[in-house]
């Protein structure tokens, strides 16, 4: 068990290291932020700034010292901001986490209910109707959904705020916008996973024991569909939640999505780098938790390692 976690952490470290390298390469290819920010300064002042931020050293040396810094939690200074890059990310992170977890929870609950219902009543007219509706939902981009929601509930009806993160109410619309396509994707995944399980031999045996479809789906289907689904979702988390960035921009939530866009525009690459690395770390941790969760419920995995 301990060895297993160690191996997984080792793989995770490799991924994080890769993210550090990629973000470093991208940042150095973008040129130095001094030139991007200060167009009309004297050569002397430019040289002084370059030296101050360490941009006058060779690339490899900068890379080594960057990796060394990251290992100590130092992602370098943020250009034009008194705090370090990591601090800025840390300030933004809670907003994003609230948004992401609220959307995940909402979407999961709805998906669980609708997929289970669909699997029990599979082939029925309601099932087909719900399924087609979800296909349409899946095709709605988050920012368009967000703007339509703003138009309806903020502009026309005036019920909810459309911009900023001022209180719980200001999260309602962003969470809905982020959840809509997520609900569709999760429902489809869970439903196809359930149907996969329900096609297995042992399900015929369950029917042969005289169990009802409802019993079969609830007592056996979900239990079997769970582990592969958790694994899959954890792996695809980044892809599923990419829309968070856009939703934050649309609704003016000061999370890391808004931060990465503004930092990129300002060529504040230290912040962009920090965000890429922090996201990768989050991904690795989440996958580790998902793995442990699967081990907890699946006896086969438990005994295999």
């Amino acid at each position: 068990m301990k060895r297993y976690i160690a191996t997984r952490l080792g793989q995770g470290l490799l991924v994080v290291f890769g993210a550090i390298t990629i973000s470093f390469v991208l940042a150095s290819m973008a040129g130095n932020p001094i030139d991007a920010r200060y167009a009309n300064i004297s050569p002397a002042a430019r040289a002084q700034l370059l030296h101050q931020y360490g941009y006058d050293k060779p690339l490899l040396e900068r890379y080594v010292s960057y990796v060394g810094g990251v290992a100590h939690g130092d992602f370098g200074p943020s250009i034009g901001s008194p705090t370090g890059a990591l601090t800025r990310v840390a300030e933004a992170l809670p907003y994003t986490l609230i948004l992401v977890f609220a959307a995940m929870a909402t979407a999961s609950l709805i998906a669980l209910a609708s997929a289970t219902f669909g699997a029990i009543r599979r082939g029925s007219r309601i099932d087909a109707w719900v399924r087609n509706g979800f296909v349409a939902l899946q095709g709605i981009p988050e920012f368009f959904a967000g703007l339509v929601l703003v138009l309806l509930f903020a502009v026309v009806l005036g019920w909810l705020p459309s911009f900023g993160a001022t209180g719980p109410a200001s999260y309602v619309l962003p969470v809905i916008a982020l959840s809509l396509p997520l609900v569709a994707t999760l429902t489809r995944l869970l439903r196809s996973q359930l149907l996969d399980v329900l096609g297995a031999d042992f399900v015929v045996a369950l029917r042969a024991k005289g169990l009802s479809e409802r019993d079969i789906v609830l007592r056996h289907g979900l239990r079997n569909a769970g582990p592969p689904l958790i694994t899959y979702l954890a792996l695809q988390l980044g892809w599923l939640l990419g829309g968070t960035i856009i939703v934050e921009v649309v609704f003016g939530i000061p999370g890391i999505g808004s931060l990465v866009v503004s930092a990129t525009r300002a060529r504040d690459m230290a912040v962009v780098q920090a965000i890429v690395v922090v996201v990768a770390v989050g991904y690795v941790l989440f996958n580790l938790f998902a793995d442990l969760a699967v081990r907890a419920v699946d006896p086969r995995v438990r005994s295999a390692t």
Binding site: D201, F202, A205, R207, A208, K209, L211, H220, S303
Partner: protein, 321 residues
């Protein structure tokens, strides 16, 4: 005393009547006895059994009757059949390991059906599970109950699934292609244990198999199916010794046995069994039959009874009494 369990005039086809899968099959098996159903791919063995149990896939419908323990149920009423399933009727499917939910302990799976169904109370169900596993030859029964399916060998899984089929104390138990993946010695032991158990409990057993040899050793009676029909049935010994239907004869001839001679070709039946939807008019076996005559092609033979035996052939290979 229980009467025989019977399937009468079992007819199965796709909804809308596109393709017939089984036509007019009659089967009967006494309490405590074992009936073997043999036939090749597409003969309709499994479909017939599923029709009796109410386990046909969607899009397929059955007619006919099931008689069990004094009840007479129309095969068209799947709800009724499903009500009986897991109490009066029960089944052991092929592929024993795949038949168990991989995420649930063996003990819970044994008990689940009868408890949910209200056949037994939890404590009684557990006691019965313990006793059945014991009768199926397990020693450390309590330990087996706590195992997960992946921890069982093929032979163990087969014994567990048989115990699972016997849990409700069914009047009729269908066993589909049992033990086909097991080694000879394991298979022999499992089937012996099972046969004794079924006899003790007075369960009528239908054993579905493509293995004529296996069936001839374990079953009291045999029904031979071909292209959705029973072409011949009768007591095992008589049927094997004096087959009446040319298909039965061919099947017996084609079997490679230990008494065959080295490098002497087997007597083969040309061609392959017809697929459902491609049954010939007249006698379904006529196109492959070495003795077919004009009448066979034109006219479908009706089942003929002769004491405990019966066949569907215009020109049976034995003298009629």
């Amino acid at each position: 005393m229980n009467g025989p369990c019977e399937g009468r005039d079992v007819t199965v086809g796709t909804v809308g009547g596109g393709v017939q899968l089984v036509e007019g099959v009659d089967l009967a098996v006494e309490a405590g006895a074992m009936l073997g159903i043999v036939g090749e791919t597409g003969a309709g063995k499994t479909v017939t059994m599923r029709a009796l149990l109410g386990l046909l896939p969607p899009g397929v419908r059955a007619h006919g009757e099931l008689r069990v323990n004094g009840d007479v149920v129309s095969l068209a009423r799947v709800g009724e059949l499903r009500r009986l399933l897991g109490s009066e009727t029960s089944v052991v499917l092929q592929n024993p390991v795949g038949m168990l939910d991989p995420m649930v302990r063996v003990g819970d799976q044994l008990v689940e059906g009868v408890v949910r169904k209200g056949v037994l109370r939890p404590a009684d169900a557990r006691a019965r599970a313990v006793s059945l596993l014991g009768q199926m030859g397990f020693r450390a029964v309590e330990h087996v109950l706590t195992l997960y399916p992946f921890q069982l060998s093929g032979g163990m899984a087969q014994r567990v699934t048989i115990a699972m089929g016997m849990m409700p104390g069914p009047r009729l138990l269908v066993v589909d292609e049992p033990t086909s993946a097991l080694d000879a010695n394991v298979r022999l032991e499992v089937l012996r244990l099972f046969k004794r158990l079924a006899q003790e409990e007075g369960t009528a057993v239908i054993l579905v198999s493509h293995d004529l040899g296996l069936v001839s050793h374990f079953c009291d009676t045999i029904a031979v199916m071909y292209a959705g029909r029973v072409v011949e049935h009768g007591p095992t010994r008589e049927l094997v010794a004096r087959p009446a239907h040319p298909y039965t004869v061919a099947l017996l001839d084609a079997s490679a046995t230990l008494t065959a001679r080295r490098r002497v070709p087997l007597r083969v039946l040309p061609g392959a069994p017809p697929r459902p939807g491609h049954w010939p008019a007249g006698c379904v076996f006529a196109p492959r039959c070495p003795h077919a005559q004009e009448r066979c092609v034109a006219e479908r033979p009706l089942p003929t009874a002769d004491g405990s035996r019966g066949w569907a052939c215009h020109f049976p290979r034995i003298e009629q009494a």
